[in-house]
Subunit: 341 residues, 3 copies
């Protein structure tokens, strides 16, 4: 059961309703009226909870689970403990996600402006926004309807936010235009000047950073991630892109639609990613590269060259996955041979 200090639950929902809203098939339709109270992980779910199995690594936990219902793929259904209601789905994780959203809908915005918020008179802040304590909104900034801004966040001069954005606490925004339904986690930094200078014997000559950051709709950006503004072109984050914590995105980087960047990824200046590129944690991309749509970049990979659309690359310097694993196998063989011989 979730901690009621932090979460407010809706429901209950019947198995039939959960099947309908997730597109899953309830194996035993006679149980369609049975009520489910909550969602929970395999290990802690009880008879009134729905759970899911997606990663085969957890099949043992599934077999022992006391959950009342589970979202699961057809092929694993036979492993279910007796009495568990099964909701068959080709994508059990996604079905579970939809069910969880039904139990924990986003709270409606509580409109208001904390007395300690400092809002410039030339800023546009609709009355249906929720502005937290000590928030600073500077001259000419414009917020869309129903935006939430957490305590101690700073929205710089001229910044624009679309409707329904959720800005957490201690966020800093400047020189950026942000779409609708964007979620920024605590400590995100967007729009500061990028790392731009020309080396010189008398000290580096700084280059005015004259671009912006343009963020599409439905983007989600993790805690303490940094996105520098462009130097002349803009830095662009495509709609639906998901960015994890502590990611670094340099000036002029362009991310397509629906990209996924795991924690601590770093992308150097002017590199462009097509749509739906995925990068694993701590991957690093050199500057001025083109990464094709749908490319997959392994965790900790180091990219120094362009990557073709759809390719999977691994290692530093990054090579196609098959070449990487061949090198690994070869090295292990040679090291063993030396040892044995």
């Amino acid at each position: 059961m979730t901690d009621t200090r932090f979460f407010r639950r809706a429901g209950p929902h019947s198995l039939g309703a959960l099947a309908a809203l997730t597109g899953a098939r309830l194996v035993d339709p006679s149980t369609a009226d049975r009520l489910i109270e909550d969602v929970a992980p395999l290990e802690t779910a009880g008879p009134a909870d729905a759970t899911f199995l997606d990663n085969r690594k957890y099949t043992d936990a599934f077999m022992k689970s006391r959950a009342g219902a589970a979202f699961i793929a057809e092929t694993l259904a036979s492993r279910a403990p007796a009495g568990m209601a099964l909701l068959i789905s080709r994508e059990p994780y996604k079905a579970f996600a939809r069910a969880a959203q039904a139990f924990y809908p986003q709270s409606p915005v509580m409109p208001g402006r904390a007395p300690s918020a400092v809002v410039d008179p030339t800023a546009t802040v609709p009355d249906n926004c929720a502005i937290g304590a000590n928030v600073v909104i500077e001259a000419g900034a414009r917020l869309g309807a129903r935006c939430q801004v957490g305590p101690n966040s700073v929205i710089g001069p001229g910044v624009e936010l679309g409707a329904d954005c959720v800005i957490a606490a201690n966020v800093t925004l400047s020189h950026c235009l942000i779409g609708a339904r964007v979620v920024l986690h605590p400590g995100v930094r967007i729009g500061q000047a990028g790392f731009g200078f020309a080396p010189d014997a008398a000290g580096p000559v700084k280059i005015p950073q004259l671009g912006r950051v343009i963020i599409g709709d439905d983007v989600d950006i993790g805690a303490n991630t940094t996105i520098d503004r462009g130097s002349g072109h803009d830095t662009v984050i495509g709609p639906g892109t998901m960015i994890d914590n502590l990611v670094q995105i340099a000036h002029n980087v362009v991310l397509g639609r629906g990209c996924i960047l795991a924690g601590q990824v770093g992308i150097s200046g002017s590199t462009k990613l097509g749509d739906y590129v995925m990068a694993g944690g701590q991957a690093g991309l050199a500057g001025h590269l083109n990464i094709g749509a749908g490319a997959r970049i392994a965790a900790q990979a180091g990219l120094m060259k362009d990557v073709a659309a759809g390719e999977t690359v691994v290692g530093t310097p990054a090579v196609p996955a098959i070449a990487f694993w061949r090198q690994v196998a070869m090295m292990q063989r040679l090291a063993r041979k030396k040892d044995g011989g």
Copy 2:
């Protein structure tokens, strides 16, 4: 001598007192009454200061040091310059640490609440806490006795802190329960929603993140480190664990007791570390792994598989240290051979 703008010194302490409180043996007991005024590094210590030698790399500096006294291992005592009082210890660094604590005890909390702090009336904040300027403490939060909260930090709804916690400036806490004597450095982010979604052609389906972050007693977390709350299970940081700056800890990660994570380590979702695991800087751990108690993970290692208790692993993909160094030697040999012809 330390900068009195920033540090307040206690003392002096006699050599005898320092020996007693650190468990060191004073080589010349006739000097037990000699007073020491301060602690200092080898290079800057003077006749009234105590210093230490722990890393043999600094033996030359030790031989030239003007320090009045030094904590040192028996085996290196013969290298001491004439006139230096020697405090023999099997663990000179730890003995020095205890001496330094005697010269620089933690300042007592100065109770009070800055007039600009915004504290929800339903929050519990004992009078003996010190609440800095512009701090925001939200509904239902509960602080233990003698907690210190630095300026511009935000303590979210329902968050609980044990006694004697030190929260620095610009920290953000939500959805977490924190033990006693926990130290959080500036810019720490704890409890935000983790990176949880199921990919879908119509855009990622977000999964409500319904767990918490549970932090044990005596944990220390470095500047700008991020710890996401669990998705259903909790994210757990065991007691006595030390975490450096800019570390990323994803949802559902469990760290045992006394783990040590150096700067910029990243741990992906649902990975579990046993007690006393150590990870070097920039190491990256894939998700859903089990790392046994006492395992040691080298800096920049990339882990894709479980690690047995007590094992030391190096490289990407990480392998046992002996195999890694064998591979390195083999590669260097082959590259030389090719070169030589």
Copy 3:
């Protein structure tokens, strides 16, 4: 054209004036009076804009550019489209930087102190400083002339800043002495206690961190970068050093003059870098190393040993560049051979 919501332009400037202030040679002196309105990238520049070509990768874009003028190396001048005024420079990027500074000079400081700023009566803040909303300046801090401090930043007790510093929003400073003209981007953390403790069965023994952070003139530090104070010695950042976002600098690290650290670099405790060392993104340096002046460290390199002055090192463990590339070539050859054979 830059977005006037965010940038204010000076000018126009004549081609002759631009040549004079950048040291470039105007190929057709008869155009010296032609006015240029703005600077812009190759792709978006129009007839009233100056642009530049520095990276040959963009020669195609240059050949299609509609820019009225371009800074360019002599060797590439023949590729210019007809009618473009050419400003020949051996260092076109630097020349462009100087021109851009002429169009976008730093805004003069608008002196003032936000009513919500909390400034301790014992702090020294000249009237010509600009102190943003909710800034906290603690006891004994001293700011130089014309410093700017962004909203929600915290300047701890005793901290000193030289003249003309620009501190962005949500920055945290403690235990540090900072030179003139230093720029700190949002979320920078300077001066917190480093990761210092001696392991012990009863829990780690913390070592009081008694040094400071000393930052030279003209240093630039990127968003969410962390710099811990020294443990006894100071942590030192030499003048003119440029540090990108999310960099970790541990206690007692010493950086020389004019170093350049790209995003997500990590430097462990007590490592010393000479003047003009460059480190690529995500490079990691072990503790207690000496890196000679002018050394170049590749992106993602992992350093476990000292590096001689002027050397270029690559890989983990880092080796001289020539050895690294030989190893890479050898591995690729062997992996192919195995495959083919």
